[in-house]
Every structure is written in structure tokens, then in C-alpha cells.
């Protein structure tokens, strides 16, 4: 099954293509993968093949990028993807407690999604928030200097 992208998405593809010099067409791989993920929440191999077709390059190279970079999801995620930093500065400031609190509150483990499809919980490596640790990202938004009370407020604010 090959993907047919919606005209609105293709218009975004065209706008991105205009940003790069024509001799750099394969540079479009990451921007277009991001574009599809932003629109659909995840990227399938069929999407990757369609992106390759749009750029005019072998599908395997786009699939390679899709599977190698950690930010691309290949299956549906929760509406809110919570990414807790587990690296050194956050560990020193309580990221393990942050993760415990979230697991308890949401009733799921790392890598799992709540049954209602609302939350997915993940751990990630350094988010460059070391001076404001512990930190996490909810979808694109950074939340820093976390503690239990702040986590509760954040969860409550997410409809």
C-alpha cells in the first residue's frame, strides 16, 4: 500500500523544497519525515516510500533515516507523549522520582500508553535542561524544575 499525501501536506513539502538549493534534494529527508509526523503523529514505511518518491531517491534511504533517528515514531502514540529526561543532571535532581510519580499517577510503565490513548510515557536522553533539572517534554513543550506538585498541575492541565 503506498501513501497518497493530502494536498495541504504536499504544499508544505513544496515550501520546504524551495528552501534548499536544488542540488541538495536528499536533505529533504528529515524535514519531510518531521512534516508527516507532525501531521499524522507517526510515520509508516509506506509514508517513507512516498517521501522517497517525492524527492526522487531510493525508498530504502528514507526508511533507513526513519528507523535510525529516535524522534520518529512508527506507530500511533498517545495524545500527549511525555518524555522524561533520565540523563546525569536530571538524575542528580530527581528524575527517578519524577518517573516514579508519573508511572504511579498514570498507571503505566515506560514505553506504554494509557488505555484511553491519552498519555504515552517515555524516557529520553539529555534535553539540554541541566540547569533547570529535572525536566521533561510533553509533545513539543518543555517543563522544567519539576516536583510532584508541579507534575500534578501539568497532568491536570492536559485536557
Amino acid at each position: 500500500m503506498s501513501t497518497v499525501f493530502a494536498p495541504a501536506l504536499l504544499a508544505k513539502f513544496d515550501a520546504l523544497r524551495r528552501q534548499y538549493p536544488p542540488e541538495m534534494k536528499t536533505s529533504l529527508v528529515l524535514p519531510l519525515l518531521h512534516c508527516v509526523q507532525d501531521a499524522n503523529g507517526y510515520v509508516t514505511e509506506a509514508d517513507a516510500a512516498a517521501i522517497a518518491d517525492y524527492i526522487g531517491m531510493p525508498p530504502i534511504q528514507v526508511v533507513e533515516a526513519l528507523t535510525w533517528y529516535t524522534m520518529f515514531d512508527r506507530e500511533p502514540q498517545g495524545r500527549y507523549v511525555i518524555k522524561v529526561c533520565r540523563n546525569i543532571a536530571c538524575s542528580l535532581r530527581g528524575s527517578e522520582q519524577v518517573l516514579d510519580h508519573l508511572q504511579q499517577k498514570l498507571g503505566i510503565g515506560v514505553g506504554e500508553t494509557t488505555p484511553d490513548g491519552k498519555f504515552t510515557l517515555k524516557t529520553v536522553e539529555c534535553l539540554a535542561s541541566c540547569g533547570t533539572a529535572p525536566a521533561m517534554q510533553v509533545n513539543r513543550t518543555y517543563h522544567e524544575q519539576l516536583d510532584a506538585a508541579k507534575l500534578d498541575r501539568i497532568l491536570e492541565s492536559l485536557a
Binding site: 528552501q19 534548499y20 538549493p21 542540488e23 541538495m24 536528499t26 536533505s27 529533504l28 529527508v29 528529515l30 524535514p31 519525515l33 518531521h34 531517491m57 534511504q61 528514507v62 533507513e64 533515516a65 535510525w68 533517528y69 529516535t70 524522534m71 520518529f72 533520565r86 540523563n87 546525569i88 543532571a89 538524575s91 542528580l92 535532581r93 530527581g94 528524575s95 527517578e96 522520582q97 529520553v124 536522553e125 539529555c126 534535553l127 539540554a128 535542561s129 541541566c130 540547569g131 533547570t132 533539572a133 517534554q137 513539543r140 513543550t141 518543555y142
Partner: protein
């Protein structure tokens, strides 16, 4: 704000805008260079300033630029905004609060190197830094500062923002170039260096955010003024980030050669909860750890750090208080490097995973004396045997943690539990 090059203005809701950057004297250096100077003169001034790369390796910026052939028909410039060295959070400060300073620095570099297309490779996770950079570029384009015929000079330079997608190794410059070409971020063998064959095989300069953002100051105040700050062999100021067990974590602009102890105990408010200092990782997670006793008298410059057995790296000072379990803390790092090894070179791909599995075994109380011996041997098999520095980066923490805190590792193996109840957070 008591900085010189960066932290010179109060942060407000509008301090990142073009109007306010101009009110601080912004883009005057670019205008002057375009009207009054030759590209070679700009390059010479940066070289004379002694500015060194702020991403971690500390290579002379002017020299890096000089390696590009003068008659190359196409030259590319990439700003490395893949800030990901654990402990480091300085580049995002520049993007969030002074994005035009980076843009002006990129344009000056582009002028010096005759670059038509420049790229800002920004880590995919960044949100506000990305929006601030895009907003600043929109402002700059509308003001005729970026794009065709900049300020009527006849020079043109386009800046494209390119998002990464979650890979620590893409902060390595040749890996960044492969990523920018749409490939997996595998580092390349060097030579040839990017200045000879870089992006799409064309001569390319890759510079860190803090490096490029220092260029406008150097152009305005002169090479001598910059070279006069800090230590003469690695001059200027740096954005030092202090994190971990300190009362007031944060970013501080200080001249090179600044005392490490003063940064921790005065600027960052001392150790959290009045505890004692146990250890410091002085330049990002990849640099060798220093025990508290090593810190006295050490200053934040390459020579002093080398004497103490570590490096200034990316200026990321990670502070660790007494009572912290060094075995579990090291496992946080081995897990990270095993996760981020790109998989290209066997010693790194297998070695980082071995080190992490051994640490996991020790932390689970199932480690043996033989495990500890293997853990000490592995870094020597990885270091120097890989295409890029990630193998070394993964090895140095392991080697130095065991060297400085060997008794804790032995205790963990002998008793099957931590000497400090596995504590990481206070």
C-alpha cells in the same frame, strides 16, 4: 547580567527581538564589514582574536576557516545547534535570548568564507530555541539582512534552519553533515576534513553556536580586546553551565581561566543542602571526573584542566555532593553512551553495550571481580579505535570513575549493594 560578550542585557519579553538587538549595537559589525572590509580581513581578525571552538574540541576558529581553499567555487557553512552533551545548556540560551547575535555571526562567517548557503542544524527536541531562531530569521530577512543582496552590498547569503531528529552523535561535525544530507548520522573518516570535503563533498565549515555568536563582538571591539580576556592561550569568555547538586544551578559568562571552585561555591551558591563536595565533571559528561580534592586551584582553561586530568569541553560543570552513589551515577552515563553509539564502529557499538551491561549487573548486585576488571580494560580497547570521538567520550567516564572512586565499585561488587544506598538525588 555581568557578562561581556553574551550576558550583557536584562532579559525581558522583547530582548530577543531585532529592534532591541540593534539598540544594543547589533548588526553594526556586519554593516561595517560589508561596506569597509574584505572577506580576508574578517577572517584575519577572527584568527588574531584567538577564538577557539566552543562545542568541546576547542580548535582555533580562524584556522578552521583558513583551511577552506580560497578559490573553491562553492563553500557551505553549518552552525552546529545539536546541543546534546549532557550538562550543556548554553547554546539554547543564545537562541532564546539573543538569536540575532548568532545570525550576525553566521553572516560574518559567511562573508569571510564567501558562503551562499548556510545551515542552522538544530536538535529536533528544541522548541522555544527553534521558534526564536525562526522568528529572528523572519525579522532579519524582512530587514534585508539575510537573503539576496544583503544591505545593498551585492553579497547574498541564505540561512536554512534544519531540524535534527534525536541523535547525540550528530553533534559530531561529520555526522552532522551526513545527517544534513538526509542520511543516518554516521561520522566520516578524517581526513579529508569538512573544510576540504564536507557537505555534498564541498568545502564546509561547521562551527558551534557560542563560537559564531562571539564573532560580532570580535569584529566590533577588535581582536586585541578579545585576546586580552581570560588566559592568553585560550582567550575570551565562555558560557559555563553549572548543574547537579548546587544551590543555584545556572549559566554564567566568565573569562577563561576562572577558578572552578569559585564558580561552584560562589556563583552557583555552593553545594545543595550545605553538604560537602564529592566530585565534579568539569566539561560535559564525556570529560574525566575530578574528585573534590582535585578541584582546589584548578582554573577553567585547557592547560589547568589538563594538569588536573580533565578538560574544559563544552563548559558544562556537573557537581556531585557527598552521599551520591558513583556506581549508579556511572550507569546513567554508560546507558546513555550505549544508547547513542551510532553502530558504525565495532569497538564502540559493542564496547559501550558491554560496559553498560556490566554496570547493570553490578548495580543489580550480581557483579563479580572479573566484571570490574573487564570494565577497567574495555576503555583501552575502545579509545583510539573508532571513527569519531564518541568511543573516547564513552570510555573516559568509565575509566575515571573507577580510578577516582574504585573503592565504591569494589564495595558494590563484594557486598552486592551500594555504599550510599544507590542515592543520586539529594
Amino acid at each position: 547580567m555581568n557578562g561581556t560578550v553574551f550576558m550583557t542585557f536584562p532579559i525581558t519579553a522583547t530582548s530577543h527581538t531585532l529592534a532591541e538587538y540593534r539598540a544594543r549595537g547589533g548588526y553594526a559589525a556586519l554593516e561595517h564589514a560589508l561596506r569597509e572590509m574584505t572577506p580576508a580581513q574578517v577572517g584575519e581578525r577572527v584568527k588574531a582574536s584567538g577564538l577557539q571552538g566552543r562545542g568541546g574540541a576547542g580548535f582555533q576558529t580562524g584556522l578552521k576557516w583558513e583551511f577552506v581553499a580560497k578559490d573553491a567555487p562553492v563553500v557551505y557553512l553549518c552552525c552546529n545547534i545539536d546541543e546534546g552533551e549532557p550538562g550543556t545548556f548554553k547554546d539554547r540560551w543564545i537562541l532564546e535570548h539573543s538569536p540575532h547575535q548568532l545570525i550576525e555571526g553566521m553572516l560574518l562567517a559567511a562573508f569571510a568564507l564567501r558562503v551562499r548557503h548556510a545551515f542552522a542544524y538544530i536538535r529536533g527536541e528544541f522548541d522555544l530555541p527553534l521558534r526564536r531562531l525562526q522568528g529572528a530569521l523572519d525579522e532579519a530577512r524582512a530587514a534585508g539582512l539575510v537573503g539576496e543582496n544583503i544591505l545593498g552590498s551585492g553579497c547574498s547569503c541564505n540561512i536554512v534552519v534544519h531540524r535534527g531528529a534525536g541523535a547525540y552523535v550528530c553533534g559530531e561535525e561529520s555526522s552532522l553533515l551526513n545527517s544534513l544530507e538526509g542520511k543516518r548520522g554516521f561520522p566520516r573518516n578524517k581526513p579529508p576534513f569538512p573544510a576540504v570535503r564536507g557537505l555534498y563533498q564541498k568545502p564546509t565549515v561547521v562551527n558551534n553556536v557560542e563560537t559564531l555568536a562571539a564573532v560580532p563582538w570580535i569584529m566590533r571591539h577588535g581582536a586585541k580586546a578579545y585576546a586580552a580576556m581570560g588566559v592568553s592561550k585560550a582567550p575570551g569568555t565562555r558560557l559555563f553551565g553549572v548543574s547537579g547538586h548546587v544551590a543555584k544551578p545556572g549559566l554564567f559568562e566568565r573569562p577563561t581561566g576562572y577558578p572552578l571552585s569559585r564558580l561552584i561555591h560562589e556563583d552557583a551558591g555552593g553545594i545543595l543542602g550545605g553538604r560537602k563536595l564529592k566530585a565534579v565533571i568539569p566539561g560535559g559528561s564525556s570529560t574525566p571526573i575530578l574528585a573534590a580534592a582535585d578541584v582546589e586551584g584548578v582554573t577553567l582553561d585547557p592547560a589547568s584542566m589538563a594538569k588536573a586530568g580533565s578538560m574544559v569541553g563544552s563548559g558544562a560543570v556537573i557537581v556531585i555532593a557527598e552521599g551520591t552513589c558513583m556506581v549508579r551515577l556511572l550507569q546513567v552515563l554508560t546507558r546513555f553512551y550505549a544508547h547513542e553509539s551510532c553502530g558504525q564502529c565495532t569497538p564502540c557499538r559493542e564496547g559501550t553495550d558491554w560496559m553498560d551491561r556490566i554496570l547493570a549487573r553490578i548495580v543489580a548486585g550480581k557483579g563479580t571481580t572479573a566484571d570490574l576488571a573487564t570494565l577497567q580494560r574495555l576503555p583501552t580497547s575502545i579509545m583510539g579505535n573508532t571513527v569519531c570521538a564518541l568511543g573516547d567520550a564513552a570510555s573516559m567516564p568509565v575509566a575515571s570513575f573507577i580510578k577516582k572512586f574504585g573503592d565504591e565499585f569494589e564495595h558494590y561488587v563484594q557486598h552486592g549493594r551500594s555504599l550510599h544506598e544507590g542515592r543520586l538525588a539529594p
